[in-house]
């Protein structure tokens, strides 16, 4: 009588510095603290059956993490997952869940695209938003935009363009005070299937400081600073208006609510 549940969860605040390899023990201990009947793998070193579709780079925020939990016995999902959410470290919260019916497609197949959000500090907002908008249009109009990614094991040229489904820049006004003022926000929906393209690769393809060297089609000069925050907003399918979230079907708008409070 196993029960499979898919959840969307957050990784914000201090826990954004927790690495992907430490996540499984954090979840396993939280499940034990919440006293939930998680299933374990067979073998001499059993592991809790919690699977994560992919790793979020250390230091990124996320409101769009997902996991599939397999329980050895049925749970009362809303009550028990609320308890699990409380047992998780601060900054990790379960936002929504979905009981997996038999024959449902694999979780990874429901997460074909990711909406990323890049937020800059409250300087140069108008000009920066304009520049990103213009460069974004040019990128969408191009067939290929290449950047060279540098890694200890060697350089690799990546074509960013095929991964970009849609993007838009906007200026968001946050209440005055620390972190307040006008910020540029870039939202982009990137493909999860195909070669991995991360927000910093995209940023480099737009002439931003994403750590890659521009190549064919990318602006030669790096004239946009690295953002202060990168957030994985949600995952699902691309939609005309932005991204259709995998578990709820709700659409996350490409142009963010420009009067939102600062995060």
């Amino acid at each position: 009588m196993q029960q499979r549940i898919r959840i969307r969860w957050t990784k914000r605040g201090r826990v954004r510095y927790v690495s992907a390899r430490d996540l499984s023990s954090i979840w396993e201990r939280a499940l034990r603290r919440a006293d939930l009947p998680i299933a374990y793998s067979e073998g001499f070193t059993p592991h809790a059956k919690v699977s994560f579709p992919d790793a979020l780079p250390v230091g990124y925020d996320s409101t769009g993490e997902y996991a599939e939990l397999t329980f050895a016995a049925p749970i009362v999902a809303d009550r028990d997952l609320a308890r699990l959410s409380r047992a998780l470290p601060e900054g990790m919260d379960i936002l929504t869940y979905f009981e997996v019916p038999d024959g449902a497609p694999k979780l990874a197949r429901m997460l074909r695209a990711t909406m990323w959000e890049l937020v800059w500090p409250a300087v140069d907002a108008a000009e920066l938003t304009d520049r990103l908008t213009a460069r974004g249009r040019a990128l969408l109009a191009a067939d290929h935009i290449e950047v060279i990614r540098h890694r200890p094991d060697g350089d690799r040229t990546i074509d960013v363009r095929p991964a970009v489904l849609t993007l838009a820049a906007a200026t968001r006004r946050a209440a005055p005070g620390p972190g307040g003022g006008e910020h540029t926000v870039l939202r982009a929906v990137l493909r999860n299937d195909g070669p991995t393209v991360r927000p910093n690769d995209l940023l480099s393809a737009l002439g931003g400081d994403g750590g890659c060297t521009p190549a064919a089609g990318a602006p030669r000069e790096v004239d946009i600073a690295a953002p202060t925050r990168i957030n994985r907003v949600a995952q699902g399918e691309v939609d005309d208006g932005g991204l259709r979230e995998a578990l709820t079907g709700e659409v996350e708008a490409l142009v963010p609510d420009v009067d939102a409070e600062a995060a």
Binding site: R14, V15, R32, D35, F44, P89, W120, P121, E127, L128
Partner: protein, 681 residues
């Protein structure tokens, strides 16, 4: 570049002279800044950033202004190594349980973060509130060994605290050290205000009372200063104030004595002994790390102290006598702790956990409790007998019988008589045979070389014992493995070997080469060694006197940090520091001391009579063994008189083993029936 963040600066550290306000008790205190905002932009650029953010389950975050006294508990190594330390977690819990006391934690930032902190003027900060170290009242440092000394200086400096105690004023914290290496704090004497001898639970609270009362008195306008506070601390039993004592030397440079130079302080500072562990069932609310550490488990100290009398073992000598926790308390602590923390592993800790008089019942009950779950149990044991195998079988019910560890410590029967590790080769081989026949696949054997009186044949005996064990292993399975782990011996204070000469690293290397040469044809027999150079600094700091302190400072200034880490080879830096400060390594480490010579820790009383230690040293030299006083008559080492206890063992009226010892070896030497108590004192 568009969108560049305006340069932010870390909150400024107030000048000395302007820090007093932050230290005031209660609501009158100014709030020190949090450095989290300043730290955050750096975290993306350093290794393992999660170690710096805090926020773990069971972290205690208290309001600065709700506390009259504020402690920063410090482990002078990385979070990864220091976080599991039980000493810190005990004090963290007992101090934070007090309504008007706050305790936070500090670990050493790795060199990558340190560099950036210095560039940006970010001081050493606490993990909970990211508050600067200088704002706390007490920096409570645990020194489990000597290789954190340079890190301690570095943390003080990073924390904007003058590294020299003499330069500190009323508005600087009290730097207080404890732990095993604090039994000879002389190489740190100029840098610390106080050292605490022995068990920390009670004395930490007494120190807290003195500090809080002192602050309240000052607040009320009392004419009290730092010197008054130190004098009051010196009245707390077990607290040693190095600046109140001075060493006297003979003309040839030997130590004559270390004597009080302040009226009213004790000529010898006694260690503290918690007599009833049942009153201190801590730590219960153990911190659950969010990033990898060396031990991730819920740990319960099942007893404290050890009287096996291994002559090399400082921990065994200085923690006497044996005090056990009741089996039912252990059971309760484990069950509650596993629920509270979610840890999947339980450690039953002590110096030799298989020696708890009720361990059979404890192991059986816990194994029953967690049968069929994924919770695993482990305990460190130094026993080399069949009981150890039986116990390990019990504890591994849930898992695979992979590695089993034994610590014969020396290769030959003669050498084991010298170190008082009472097991014969015959028993040892029988025990490993039992282990392999019961399905264990990998046996690890721990040894030391460089022991007093060691001859070439003793060294070769390690290799030969390894080979014999390996042959037994192969008999029971082609895939079975044996590893021999060999480390260089470092003589430690308050042990019978405190007079011994330490082997030079060259000598250790030569001996290791002998072992390597002898086993080279046995491919499945593995040898693990430590870097022989690592023992050099440890040995010097273990038995050095105050004249070594300038070398510690010099080595730190030359860049020595993380002296115990392979990644940080600091020996050359140290050699330069020794040369520049005129410290003679040979004289401190590689010379045998004689009976008349005063030792730098003679004024620090671990309870052991120096006469008894000398006698035991002489017994060692004549290869005479000494029984454990738990099951043979007291031999007056000096520890017990004055305590209201004898050995506090046998809650169950003796051993009630869940499983009969296999009778295949080992237990002729170690009675495992209630008679062992009857036959004892």
């Amino acid at each position: 570049m568009l969108g560049s963040a305006p340069p932010t600066s870390a909150p400024a550290t107030p000048a000395r002279g302007a820090r007093g306000g932050y230290r005031r008790p209660g609501t009158r205190a100014q709030l020190p800044p949090s450095y989290y905002e300043a730290l955050e932009p750096l975290l993306g650029t350093v290794k393992k950033p999660a170690q710096y953010v805090g926020g773990e389950h069971n972290q205690q975050e208290a309001d600065w202004t709700a506390a009259d006294s504020r402690w920063l508990l410090c482990y002078p190594d990385t979070y990864e190594v220091g976080q599991p330390n039980q000493g810190i977690q005990i004090l963290y819990e007992v101090l934070n349980r007090r309504p008007a006391t706050l305790a936070e934690r500090l670990y050493a930032p790795w060199v990558d973060l340190e560099e950036r902190m210095r560039e940006r003027d970010i001081p050493a900060f606490s993990l909970e509130g990211h508050r600067p170290a200088w704002a706390f009242d007490v920096i409570g440092v645990t020194l489990p060994h000597e290789l954190g000394h340079t890190n301690l200086l570095n943390l003080l400096d990073l924390g904007r605290i003058p590294i020299h105690a003499a330069e500190r004023t009323e508005e600087d914290p009290i730097v207080l050290v404890g732990g095993h290496a604090a039994y000879n704090p002389e190489p740190l004497a100029p840098f610390i205000d106080a050292a605490v001898m022995g068990d920390g639970e009670e004395v930490a609270l007494e120190v807290d009372d003195v500090v809080a009362a002192h602050k309240r008195e000052r607040e009320a306008g009392g004419d009290v200063d730092r010197h008054t506070l130190l004098r009051r601390l010196a009245q707390v039993e077990g607290v040693y104030i190095p600046s109140f004592y001075a060493p006297r030397y003979t003309d040839d440079g030997r130590l004559k004595a270390t004597v009080p130079i302040e009226a009213g302080v004790p000529p010898r500072v006694p260690k503290r002994t918690v007599q009833d562990l049942e009153q201190w069932p801590f730590p219960q609310k153990q911190i659950v790390p969010m990033t990898e550490t060396v031990h991730e488990r819920f740990s319960v100290e099942i007893f404290r102290g050890c009287t096996r009398g291994c002559r090399f073992c400082q921990a065994g000598m200085i923690t006497r006598p044996v005090r056990e926790r009741k089996p039912e308390t252990i059971q309760r602590l484990v069950e509650e702790g596993v629920k509270d923390t979610g840890f999947g592993e339980v450690g039953l800790l002590s110096l030799s956990s298989a020696d708890h008089s009720g361990i059979g019942k404890v192991a059986r009950d816990l194994a029953d409790e967690y049968e069929g779950t994924v919770t695993s149990l482990s305990l460190p044991s130094t026993r080399v007998d069949a009981f150890n195998v039986t116990l390990s079988n019990e504890l591994s019910r849930n898992g695979r019988r992979t590695g089993l560890t034994f610590a014969p410590e020396a290769g030959s029967d003669r050498m084991r008589a010298v170190i008082n590790k009472m097991v014969s080769e015959q028993d040892l081989l029988r025990t490993t045979e039992v282990a392999f026949s019961e399905g264990w696949r990998h046996v690890k054997l721990y040894f030391m070389i460089g022991l007093p009186t060691e001859r070439e044949e003793d060294v070769l005996a390690i290799a030969e014992l390894g080979i014999k064990t390996y042959e037994l292993a192969r008999k029971h399975g082609k895939g079975n493995k044996v590893t021999i782990s060999v480390g260089g011996f470092v003589p430690k204070p308050h042990t019978p070997f405190q007079w011994a000469a330490q082997d030079s690293p060259e000598e250790i290397k030569r001996k290791l080469a002998l072992i390597r040469q002898t086993i080279k044809d046995h491919r499945g027999l593995k040898l693990r060694t430590n870097d022989p150079e690592e023992g050099v600094i440890e040995g010097l700091l273990a038995r050095g006197d105050r004249r070594v302190a300038p070398a510690v400072e010099r080595a730190w200034r030359l860049g020595a940090r993380f002296d115990g880490w392979h990644e940080m080879p600091t020996l050359d830096t140290w050699r330069r520091a020794l040369a520049e400060t005129g410290v003679d390594l040979d004289w401190f480490s590689h010379r045998e001391r004689d009976e008349r010579e005063a030792l730098p820790w003679d004024h620090l009383d671990s309870g052991l009579e120096k006469d008894w230690l000398w006698e035991d040293w002489q017994d060692a030299l004549s290869e005479k063994e000494l029984d454990d006083c738990r099951w043979s008559p007291c031999y007056d080492c000096g520890v017990c008189p004055g305590l209201s206890i004898q050995h506090d063992t046998g809650y169950d009226g003796g051993m009630q083993l869940p499983v009969v010892p296999s009778g295949l070896g080992g237990n002729e030497q170690l009675p495992v029936t209630p008679e062992r108590y009857a036959s004892g004192a």
